[in-house]
């Protein structure tokens, strides 16, 4: 008996080693049993918490790629959306939009490389130019709303006239009031714009959405411009004095979509013929 105890004491490490290995292999073989499946794996609350935390840190390193992918995906969805909307407009049933008209808008993703908001006439530089099929006159929108219109193009860059420009006007529509006016920047606050030419006999509601109207060849209809902030009355005028909050925050503009209306030239050429008669 004494010898046995002495043997166990002497080789206790070997016995412990064997015991631990047996436990390990028991785990390996029974890895699907309930106890281990519910605790010793990454679904364990502590382990999962730790991995979530670690992933949230790692996610930052991948943001650049993720942003680019999302912008590309948005471009595709935008194109699809305008095609569907233009293919089935709110119109009498007799009206059929032909596919050329419905497909007239094409989108391209670009990244903003330079941007001002503090001047009276602001411009934005984007990293796509004529090599990517960008031409002066195309519209530019952001994920949150209207941005501007391409003014100049080089091979790899383009300068965009921001809607924060004293000469820029966007034909816009109030959704609830169903009236069309012109949005224009008054040069004061880069977060606000004026909406002109809305008749004072139309009821206008605070918070009503202002979107691009059908009456322009640059932007697809229905792109958000902003929301009504204040409604006043201009003295001696028949129009409302409306201030809108811009939906796009121009100070942190990152990815934008350049909109190419393939029928714009045709439309403008046709309209130019009656220009002189006006």
């Amino acid at each position: 008996m004494g010898e046995l105890v002495e043997f166990i004491v002497r080789s206790r490490n070997f016995i412990l080693f064997l015991l631990l290995e047996v436990i390990c292999f028991y785990f390996i073989i029974n890895t699907n049993n309930y106890w281990s499946a519910s605790f010793f794996n990454t679904s364990n609350a502590y382990a999962a918490q730790m991995l979530t935390w670690s992933n949230s840190v790692q996610a930052y390193t991948r943001l650049r790629d993720v942003n680019a992918e999302l912008a590309a995906e948005n471009r595709k969805l935008h194109e699809e959306l305008t095609r569907l909307q233009q293919g089935h407009p709110v119109a009498p049933t007799a009206y059929q939009a032909d596919t050329v008209f419905a497909n007239r808008f094409a989108y391209k993703v670009a990244k903003v490389t330079n941007n001002t908001t503090q001047y009276a006439n602001n411009y934005i530089t984007i990293d796509k130019g004529t090599d990517d099929g960008i031409q002066p006159g195309m519209g530019v929108i952001s994920p949150t709303g209207v941005v501007g219109r391409v003014k100049l193009c080089s091979a790899n860059f383009s300068v965009v006239t921001s809607i924060l420009h004293s000469e820029f006007r966007v034909s816009s529509k109030l959704i609830r009031a169903a009236d069309i006016g012109t949005a224009k920047w008054d040069g004061v606050d880069p977060h606000q714009m004026k909406l002109l030419d809305i008749s004072r006999y139309k009821p206008v509601y605070k918070g009503d959405s202002v979107v691009t109207s059908e009456h322009n060849s640059v932007f697809p209809p229905g792109i958000l411009v902003g929301r009504v902030r204040t409604i006043g009355v201009q003295p001696n005028m028949t129009f409302h004095d409306i201030t809108i909050d811009l939906s796009t925050n121009f100070s942190n503009l990152s990815f934008v979509y350049v909109v190419n209306n393939k029928l714009r030239q045709e439309q403008e050429q046709l309209e130019k013929q009656i220009e002189n008669e006006k």
């Binding site: 206790r12 490490n13 070997f14 412990l16 080693f17 631990l20 290995e21 436990i23 390990c24 292999f25 028991y26 785990f27 390996i28 890895t31 281990s36 010793f40 794996n41 990454t42 364990n44 382990a47 730790m50 991995l51 670690s54 790692q58």
Partner: protein, 176 residues
């Protein structure tokens, strides 16, 4: 075990050791878990925490520490038991490797296992041998049959090299 350690180490050395041990473990779990070179080379740097524990540590305690380290790593790899088995094995054979490869001068003298104390040659041999044993066990268990023999062998060789290089590099940078 703690009494045994305290007789030979200062408190500062112990906290240092615990800190490094946890650091290796966190490094493994949070970062190196996602690092695989060329689909073959994995890095299991957490074994450095085991390898660098002082040689005079109580062997039973050492086996238990290794076991729990393995279980923690297994939890994050969803491979319950595999890392634990490999880690317990290297913990058990470590004294043998120390005796034959590193030939520690006398058990009474306090000895720290580090690149500085052992020199590059001994340290590299010690690390690569134990890493080889660990990875061989791990990947053999994982493959659990001989059908994928060649990929498993490549994996063992590549991972052993990768892990060893990582451990030696970390030693280079944490000399002080």
């Amino acid at each position: 075990m703690i009494r045994c350690l305290i007789t030979t180490m200062t408190l500062r050395e112990i906290t240092n050791l615990v800190f490094l041990f946890l650091l290796y473990l966190l490094l493994q779990i949070l970062i190196l878990r996602n690092v695989v070179l060329f689909d073959y080379a994995f890095c299991f740097v957490y074994i450095a925490g085991i390898l660098l524990l002082p040689p005079q540590i109580n062997r039973s305690a050492f086996l238990l520490i290794s076991f729990f380290t393995g279980v923690i790593v297994d939890t994050f790899y969803n491979t319950l038991g595999m890392h634990a088995a490999a880690t317990v094995l290297i913990a058990y054979v470590r004294p043998l490797i120390l005796r034959t490869q590193v030939d520690l001068p006398g058990q009474e003298q306090r000895q720290v296992l580090s690149l500085n104390e052992l020199g590059f040659n001994k340290f590299f041999r010690y690390t690569i041998l134990l890493a080889l044993i660990h990875h061989t066990t791990l990947f053999t268990i994982e493959a659990s049959s001989l059908t994928l023999l060649v990929p498993t062998l490549i994996r063992i060789a590549a991972s052993t090299l990768f892990t060893t290089i990582c451990i030696v590099l970390i030693q280079f940078f944490t000399r002080n």
